[in-house]
Symmetry: C2
DNA sequence: ACCAAAGCAGTACGAATGTCCAACTAGCGT
DNA sequence: ACGCTAGTTGGACATTCGTACTGCTTTGGT
């Protein structure tokens, strides 16, 4: 039997993950400067040499930790996607924005900051950028599916704007300029406006804009 | 006269700024890990000890460099604000989004990445967070003023959503998922939708949403 | 029970880092 | 002319870092 071997491998894998987890924690707390061999090992409660044993270099460690977090993040979202809990809301979009706002509020600012940081760190690393792109695609697909379930046509075209609003709000939230309630409300209203204009159609929207502003200045 | 002394002080101030500028460059290129005493001094073409002479610690140096960049960024925006070039567009909002998209395209992704990074770095630093908040307020005021010049009522309420879309698009752009043209188009369309819905008013938007989705599922 | 191999950890070492300090320079008042 | 103050700098120091090396322990096959 390879039971023992498997168990050993399993333990090894788990140690590796603990290191990655510790690295993410340190990164979230103090940025990339805080992620050092010794700090990671200490945080994970493992001997200092462990990090060099499991990873080629400290850069590899950080890279893998960030990529790992992106992946788990996507998995989390895929789980939500599989649940298809949205139809239970009765198909009312106003309620849907409420759902989004609730999910949003449940995600603490520190976590949001971490995820935004990872997306940005991906800027300077080709491999990470690929992961970030995959995650983005996943989010857009998820948003698109949810919007579709609500009976919104051309959901694909609306999804990117929706995500942009969510991401932008996440970023602004980091400044603490608005209260948590205000942030949720601002996002909810922005989404509602985007959905409304989308449903109305581009021609109608252009008409409204022309009527309002064109008339005043022409 | 204190001419000589003033000149000396001026030179000193300039050296300081060169260090800050070098620090920003290094931060943009390699993140906070790349910002070290020696690296900064070398980049600025100054002796190594200069950094310790002008700054309490390396953290202070980085902090001040980021805050400095935020400030100059705001000044740049204030300049745009003072120009009030928007009315020349004839007050057409569709053209205005074009202007925004153009300005946007002119700002290279690397610079956008830097500014996003600074905003995020502010998360972990109280002093920086204050600077970031001031910048945010400045941007919202600017957006609000421009919207007002276009004859849009309640511009204050629209500005945050507009900025969220811009910031969110900036973030997504970092992944390289869409082409630059597509990004500009996506942002332009999202802004147009936001403006249109805003002009239409909340009640009307809610009606549209209720008509479209409520009917299908009720 | 024994051995080969892989997992693992203690330790060491060169390089880089943050910080400090003593000396050197230049401008300024007297 | 001459010190005096502020600006400036080269170099040194302890610390921390990344990494490699050398054994030790555990495991799996026989």
């Amino acid at each position: 039997m390879a039971t023992r071997a498997q168990l050993s491998q399993e333990r090894s894998r788990q140690r590796r993950e603990e290191l990655l987890s510790a690295a993410i924690e340190l990164f979230a707390e103090g940025g990339s400067r805080a992620v050092t061999h010794r700090a990671v090992a200490k945080r994970a409660g493992l001997p200092p040499a462990t990090t060099t044993y499991y990873f080629e270099s400290i850069d590899d460690l950080l890279r893998e930790a960030l990529a790992d977090h992106i992946t788990s993040w996507r998995n989390e979202l895929d789980l939500l996607s599989g649940m298809d809990q949205l139809p239970r809301m009765g198909g009312r979009i106003t309620d849907a924005t409420q759902v989004i706002a609730t999910v949003w509020a449940a995600r603490p600012p520190e976590v949001a900051a971490l995820e935004l940081s990872i997306f940005l760190a991906a800027t300077r690393d080709a491999a990470l950028r690929e992961s970030a792109r995959e995650a983005l695609v996943g989010f857009e697909e998820l948003a698109s599916r949810w919007l579709g379930l609500l009976g919104i046509p051309d959901a694909d075209r609306l999804a990117p704007a929706l995500l942009a609003v969510i991401a932008g709000t996440a970023l602004r939230r980091q400044t603490g300029q608005y209260s948590e309630d205000d942030e949720a409300r601002l996002m909810s209203e922005a989404i509602r406006d985007l959905v409304g204009a989308h449903l109305l159609g581009r021609e109608k929207v252009d008409e409204i804009i022309a009527d309002t502003t064109g008339a005043e200045t022409d």
